[in-house]
């Protein structure tokens, strides 16, 4: 999987770092049918998402296919400008991606 599926913004205000991540992913439930063929579209969704701060996981999420297509996630935690943050995901097919950024 290409490494450009995540857009990540990290900003700091008053000692709080806000992470905003936009992930490009189909988030297919596996219960939808193809409109043309009538066949079920196989499930394909992100199961694990991790937000790391200074190399340590600070928020780890488990997702179902109930998360919208091209998921957006925002979390907050204590931190400062220049800290390294990263977001990683892994889906039910074993694909994964991660990206890191500096808090600005």
């Amino acid at each position: 999987m290409a490494s450009n599926t995540i857009k990540l913004r990290a900003t700091e205000a008053d000692g709080q770092v806000t992470i905003k991540a936009l992930i490009t992913h189909p988030m297919e439930l596996g219960t939808r049918k193809d409109a043309k063929t009538g066949e079920l579209i196989p499930a394909h969704f992100i199961q694990d998402v991790t937000v790391n701060h200074a190399g340590k996981p600070i928020v780890t999420g488990a997702w179902s296919g109930g998360v919208s297509k091209d998921p957006y996630l925002s979390v907050r935690f204590a931190g400062k400008k220049g800290d390294e943050v990263s977001v990683a995901w892994k889906d039910n097919k074993g694909d994964s991606d991660s990206v890191s950024a500096q808090v600005g």
Partner: protein
């Protein structure tokens, strides 16, 4: 054996074959990747209580005024419903988001590390008008808050 009986036998046989084909297809459509961390049982549960017991070990929770669930009153498109869960509770261990009437109510669950704020914002799918329920585990106890979202077009089926 006359022709029509033969045809009947043939039809029976092909129908049985089709049934097997469907079963195999269904098996293939649900690949079970080995992911120890992902709580598969909770994500398969059709009932909120079952999902919570499996995920958090308990389905007993108290309503809390310290949890704020932000979501639109009316969502025209159930496929994209923006929600925000924010809590003032201390020692937040996890935040879990459920959509009460989805085929699989459990949407997402977040484990909050030390230093993390009680804040999660995301977009979820909703199959029908229902409550968005947030369950916050703080100090070993479960607290909840909910907000009803009217869904005009569901986003869970095809």
């Amino acid at each position: 054996m006359n022709t029509s009986t033969k045809r009947r036998v043939f039809l029976k046989g092909s129908m049985a074959a089709t049934a097997v084909g469907v079963a195999v297809g269904a098996g293939l459509l649900a690949p079970r990747a080995v992911l120890a961390a992902w709580p598969e049982e909770a994500f398969k549960a059709k009932e909120i209580g079952v999902a919570l017991k499996s995920l958090l070990g308990s389905d007993a929770f108290d309503a809390s005024a310290d949890i704020d669930v932000k979501a639109p009153d009316i969502a025209e498109n159930g496929a994209v419903v923006p929600i925000t869960v924010e809590t003032k509770l201390k020692d937040v261990e996890s935040i879990t988001v459920l959509a009460a009437k989805n085929p699989v109510p459990l949407v997402a669950s977040y484990a909050m590390g030390k230093g993390a704020d009680g804040f999660v914002s995301m977009r979820i799918k909703m199959g029908a008008t229902a409550d968005v329920i947030a369950i916050v585990k703080a100090g070993g106890k479960l607290f909840s808050a909910k907000k009803e979202v009217k869904v005009t077009v569901g986003g869970c089926g095809g």
